[in-house]
């Protein structure tokens, strides 16, 4: 490796405002937007008691109020029907119950809260029906004290704890990190255009120098990886420290994954540029669009996309570097074991090496009699 080339590649990367923007500031700005937009998004998922009113104008059936308060599902208030109507139209309560002609739930619109109230009332009506029917069929049961033994509140379910880390929003940030790692492809593209003498004047100059081509190439690649890795670290620090997004405490694993991501990304760009014969600006545009598509498929814009791809076309999920990075981070966050993480890491390394081999095969022994 040539330290000289390494140093100057790094310098030129830092001084290039365009690359600085795309590789560092753009992801940070995007992360800020995510944060602002999604801050409240997940908070509505937690269970809140349903606010419901019982109208005092009518006689309520026996035991209903007791069952309701025992269920721990409702916050009950007692209002006259007039007041309840008013509160409901201001959407302060989910609905109110009246008993004018059978139990009736009055609501404003359909929704989950309303459904819970409805199901609960249904339940009450049904339990009454069941009891009447049982007694109808075997009237002698009343004497045996059967009614005291029945319990309609028994629970038949047992929760298997899944994980406390269930925040879907983090996947957006993971996909963003993946995108940032892979943006190194734009720089990779540039590398391969300054190493092929028939593409730019700079490349011609570099080729004249007595440095071995592979050596020069590798130095540039490592400079890019380093630069990109630093911006990923900055981004990660920003997301975890300033935006307070939980990344878990497996920092080293995350770091390794991102480093490999930068490696694969850089070589992807280099390979792309070697294989195509467009102008370098066109290539850079194509590469960045390509990365956006990969990121999209790994859930950057619509987070469910990642799941859909994974279920429907798992093949794409396994060769998409953006998804490998996102999935690796996700596995670290959600799973206790490391199997899935290592699977993703290995695939990512393999992809990177494949890109590297293709690039060197194309680049090696190119001679230019005249340019």
């Amino acid at each position: 490796m040539s330290f000289h080339i390494f140093k100057y590649s790094l310098k030129s990367l830092v001084k290039d405002k365009k690359s600085l923007f795309w590789m560092l500031f753009f992801p940070i700005i995007l992360a800020t937007f995510f944060n602002l937009a999604f801050k409240n998004l997940m908070s509505d998922e937690g269970f809140e008691k349903v606010k419901i009113s019982i109208t005092t104008d009518y006689e309520m059936p026996d035991g209903l109020e007791q069952v309701m308060s025992e269920s721990n599902l409702f916050t009950i208030s007692y209002l006259t029907e007039e007041e309840a109507k008013k509160r409901l139209s201001e959407q302060e309560i989910t609905g109110y119950i009246k008993n004018s002609d059978g139990l009736e739930l009055v609501i404003l619109e359909s929704g989950l809260n309303q459904s819970i109230a409805k199901v609960f009332l249904d339940n009450y009506v049904q339990v009454s029906a069941t009891i009447y029917r049982v007694i109808d069929e075997n009237p002698q049961l009343i004497q045996t004290g059967f009614l005291d033994t029945i319990d309609f509140n028994e629970s038949f379910t047992k929760d298997i704890p899944v994980s406390q880390s269930m925040n879907l929003i983090v996947v957006y940030y993971y996909a963003l990190l993946a995108m940032t790692c892979l943006f190194s492809a734009i720089a990779g593209c540039y590398i391969s255009s300054i190493i092929q003498a028939n593409q730019t004047d700079l490349a011609a100059r570099i080729n004249i120098a007595p440095t071995h081509k592979l050596k020069a190439f590798l130095s540039m690649v490592s400079a890019t990886i380093l630069f990109q890795f630093i911006s990923v670290i900055i981004l990660m620090t920003y997301i975890s420290q300033i935006l307070n997004v939980d990344f878990g405490n497996r920092t080293i694993h995350i770091g390794i994954l991102c480093l490999v991501g930068c490696f694969t990304g850089t070589l992807f760009g280099a390979m792309f540029d070697c294989l195509t014969k467009f102008k370098s600006e066109v290539n850079e545009m194509l590469v960045s669009n390509f990365i956006m598509i990969m990121s999209f498929l790994s859930g950057l814009m619509v987070v469910q996309m990642k799941y859909i791809i994974q279920e429907k076309v798992p093949f794409i999920a396994y060769i998409n570097p953006a998804n490998l990075i996102t999935d690796g981070l996700y596995a670290l966050y959600y799973y206790e074991t490391f199997e899935r993480y290592y699977l993703n890491l290995t695939l990512l390394v393999v992809l990177g090496i494949v890109f590297c081999i293709i690039t060197t095969l194309v680049l090696r022994r190119q001679k230019y009699a005249s340019i």
Partner: protein
Amino acid sequence: MQVFKVFYKIVPRKFLGVFIIYILIFVGLMSLFTKSGMTQGEDAFELSAVKISVINKDNSTLANGLEAYINDISKPVKIKTDEESIRDALFFRETEFIVIIPEGFQNNFTTLDAKNIQTMSVPDSMSREYAKTIIDRYLNTAKVYISANPDLSIESINEKVLNDISSEANVSFLDGNVTNDMSNFNTYFNFLSYILIAILISMVGRIMLIFNDKEIKMRNYSAPISSKSYNYQLIFSNLLIAFIIWFIFIIITFVINGPIFNQSSFLFIINSFILTLLSLSIAFLVSTFATKKSIDPIGNCLSLGLAFLGGSFVPQALLSEQLKTIGIFNPIFWYVKVNDTIGNLAVNTQATLEPIIYGILVQLAFAFAFIAISLVIIKQKRQSFE
């Protein structure tokens, strides 16, 4: 008409590709969104369907009865049954509640330890409580029948339970609240704000950059054409291209969402037209100070930023309080607000139209402000130029 002609020579040569890419992305995303959105009925109560996946390992009458009941009342989701798939499905909210009915469930049902249905869910969620209620209801009723009459066959118990469960409490809606289902339109038009700004900045903004190029400008000013006519032609060309783009998106609206023509859709279209003017003014402003290199980053940040902070992607109701306060300074916020008002429009009276008109006026004011600022910048630049 020379300027006009040049303008429309540049467009297909340089920007058709960009335009098509944007349209494709937009149409793809929109058809994804609208398909996933649930449609609600007119005035009938619909139970919210929680996405539940039942993994039935028992296959007995009771277990099948329970499964059929759950599938009937919820939105059944089929998932793969290996551990990892289950957990992934839960994390990505593909399903919200997983019920695992173990083997031998029916045989052990009457014994004391009946609490053996395993469930997996997002912790502390609303849908979890709801799904549990459904399961317990079915099984409790079944249990009562069994203990009342142990000789009954499971089939007849199942039948009785279903019969009991079918009796329901009445539900009525508070009067005068017939909401028309425009949620698809609402999502579509909210999302449109992002695409329109992005497209107009990357197209109009760039074309203006070409015209603003110092040497081209010098050449143009030396032509025997009055600067008044020059500017009018430019303005006209800009408006025309914005109008064409807007018109294409309106056609796509009806292609994706189906031809619904009523007052709401009409209002949506008007509002989006105002947005087009607004986006055009933003693009115009950007073109006054951006350079060829910086217009991409600026366009990206502006379109994403305004859209994110204005609630185009995430419903405004879920935005934080601070953001809502800052939103007053964000024209897209007003646009989305008007859209949401239109989407929730119940009865069309003067009173309900008022906030819509107000919101539209605010957007227009923003548009004028942007144009005014850009005119000032242009004038200053020209003075320093001369």
